[in-house]
Symmetry: C2
Subunit: 421 residues, 2 copies
């Protein structure tokens, strides 16, 4: 008997028919002798519809009330799912975030989990029931208020529950078969990866792979939770995201996969005085504007001018506020100008085997060079090489690298739902 | 400074525009220097839509999960209302039933309030905020589960909060101007009643007046809460439902008003053995079938036959299960047959002044007799006379009585929203 946490997203419970289908899958897992905890998101577009209502009554909705509003979405889907499972003759009980013991800090809209005390979930399992838990939500003990975990919150709920309950695996159901060596829409010969370390998965997620949220993977790595990313449309095994123990050697391919990201822009601050502390002041301004910057490159200043150029990438949605914040402090910092480039793409090659294989960078850059692809920025970690190119050649670059590292599978990837995420 | 509880039903918060309008009214009451607690129902048809979803995934939804599902409706309306009030520059905080301390027993779907501990509501008021509380819902302390109060639950929530907080008045907003001497759709000259005792209101509600739920009035009477029934579409004073103290003499009209009810049917059990205990066994069967019976009439048994006929009225929706239950026990009890009549109507004349005015019954029956209206059953209390007639002459009977007791107002009643409730 295993304890399995299963997470289903909004598209898996979009209507009554989908809920019934998911219920059958859950009942099957339960009947096979497993203890099952299910984490569920709000139905389909519910969250967007609720947000529209909030905008209609308030120009700037309070975070506390917005969390109260949005958490009703999971309350609906989890109650319906519990009913549907019971209708199949399997006992099921639904629990809100607070009933499931998801204690968070008080930051409405993007709360962090500080404690998980799933006593009622454990009691439901002990009573032979399937426990359904609302994803995305928790509560703050000090204020007694309902909170939400923000983007990717339901994945994080699932992993956090799996950790607290000592689950054997946390299954994240999605509309594709698992994690692929590259986006199958871009590289039709991309292979499904059977097994990836959470470290590699973090790099892939950070580099634009959308199947799992970084925060959930981080939580899984910190707490040793095994994630199984699999399709809710098939019975195929998906991708296991594992946490090898210290010193444990696992035979694994040098390269895991390639991720690409077209959702970032580049900002270059030109003519920054080459004085100690200037970069720190610059990035404090950027951080205060609420931006998550990714790659940073500083051109070496020449002794002639005493100034340098600093480029960084950030999500498109955060560009405007950063540009405004920088412009407001130009005289203060003393730089010359700001350049904005929204036509960039990022490509990342990830693989734990890079650590011990010296030829990876050379092969990577040679392949791009042979294909005539110009590289504008470079950033590396122990297990990742990232580059920035023009946006319109990103897909070609992904194919070139995929081929250069012999990642092509024997058959074409099967992509469900047409989203290719 | 007064403490005012205001309750708004689903039609008052049916969409964003309605919510904004209600928010303005609440903000106005707050700005006038009052402490304001608002109880709100789910938006418009939300509850029905959620029930449809439940039926789509389950033939017989669990009460616990149904309560979890339905309570999301108030969560949505209360959060939106709080946002809308804040948007007008008035601080507002929303609270679920459990956050507001509405402790109930564990009977899902029709829980009874066992304790109200509105500490957080009181704290919100102390902080100068408007407190918005979800109507219709509470929680059970033993199970930790969410419960709902059933039909009319939001009125009960409002009255219970008013009692626990020691509010000056509990305003129930509706789509008519208050309680009328008769249904203005039937009697266009019906007058709005300025003041009614909770005792009279109970009789009117029990006799079919739909503006207030019996349970809320009972709670108000027990706890000395003054209810003000008024229109959300006008600023007119509505009807005060008061609780005169013991021995307090209030000058009041002999007759308060007339209620009629077409939603009940009559069942007659023919040839019941006139043996002690038979009626008790009969009504135990009826009660076990879940019926709320109202009027009961037993024909005197004649010494010749030793059998009697027993008639009673009950809501149409409960008739079938009672008929089935009686039929199943016919041989056991030893009665001859069961007759079912779904073409009856009930009319009730209510007035506390009846106690000390002896001519009321005579005038009542004379008026009906003069109009050629046949009476099939009679039931009376200290302050009420009820009769059953054919359904198709109920409206005529109401007009005849209304006129006989000089209840006609000087101008026609204004009915908003066309429902005439």
């Amino acid at each position: 008997m295993a304890l399995i946490v299963q997470k289903f997203g909004g598209s898996s419970v979009a209507d009554a028919a989908s809920i019934t289908r998911v219920a059958e899958r859950i009942a099957e897992t339960h009947r096979a002798g497993n203890e099952v905890v299910v984490v569920v998101s709000a139905m389909g577009d519910t969250t967007d519809e609720l947000l529209d209502l909030a905008q209609a009554v308030s120009e700037n909705p309070s975070g506390r009330e917005l969390d109260m509003l949005l958490t009703s979405g999971e309350r609906i889907s989890m109650a319906l799912l519990a009913m549907a499972i019971r209708n199949l003759g399997v006992e099921a009980r639904s629990y809100t975030g607070s009933q499931a013991g998801m204690v968070t800090d008080e930051k409405h809209g993007s709360a962090r989990i500080v404690e998980v005390s799933p006593n009622r979930v454990r009691a439901a399992l002990d009573a032979g029931a399937v426990a359904i838990v609302a994803g995305f939500q928790g509560f703050n003990r000090g204020t007694g208020d309902i909170t939400t975990l923000g983007r990717g919150g339901s994945d994080t709920t699932a992993v956090a529950l799996a950790a607290a309950l000592g689950a054997d695996v946390c299954e994240i159901y999605t509309d594709v078969d698992g994690i692929f060596t590259a986006d199958p829409r871009v590289v039709p010969s991309a292979r499904k990866i059977d097994r990836v370390t959470s470290e590699e998965m973090l790099e892939l997620a950070a580099a634009g792979a959308k199947v799992l949220y970084i925060r959930a993977v981080e939580y899984a790595r910190r707490h040793g939770v095994t994630i199984h990313v699999r399709s809710s449309f098939s019975r195929n095994e998906g991708t296991l995201v594992v946490n090898p123990k210290e010193g444990e050697t696992v035979e694994e391919p040098i390269i895991t996969g390639i991720a690409a990201d077209l959702s970032e822009d580049k900002i270059t601050v030109v003519g920054v005085p080459d004085v100690p502390g200037t970069a720190a002041r610059l990035f404090t301004i950027v951080a205060n504007a609420g931006a998550n910057i990714d790659m940073i490159v500083q051109n070496t200043s020449t002794s002639d001018t005493g100034v340098a150029d600093i480029s960084f990438t950030l999500p498109t949605s955060q560009a405007k506020s950063v540009l405004d914040a920088l412009e407001a402090r130009r005289a203060d910092i003393g730089f010359e100008s700001v350049q904005y480039d929204d036509q960039i793409g990022k490509i990342a090659l990830v693989g734990a085997g890079m650590r011990t294989n010296t030829g990876v960078s050379a092969k990577f850059f040679t392949a791009l060079s042979d294909a005539g692809i110009n590289i504008e920025m470079i950033s590396t970690s122990e297990i990742r090489i990232s580059v920035v190119t023009r946006a319109d050649i990103v897909n070609e670059a992904v194919r070139v690298i995929h081929h250069a590292f012999d990642l092509d599978g024997e058959s074409e990837a099967v992509v469900y739902g047409g989203t290719g995420r």
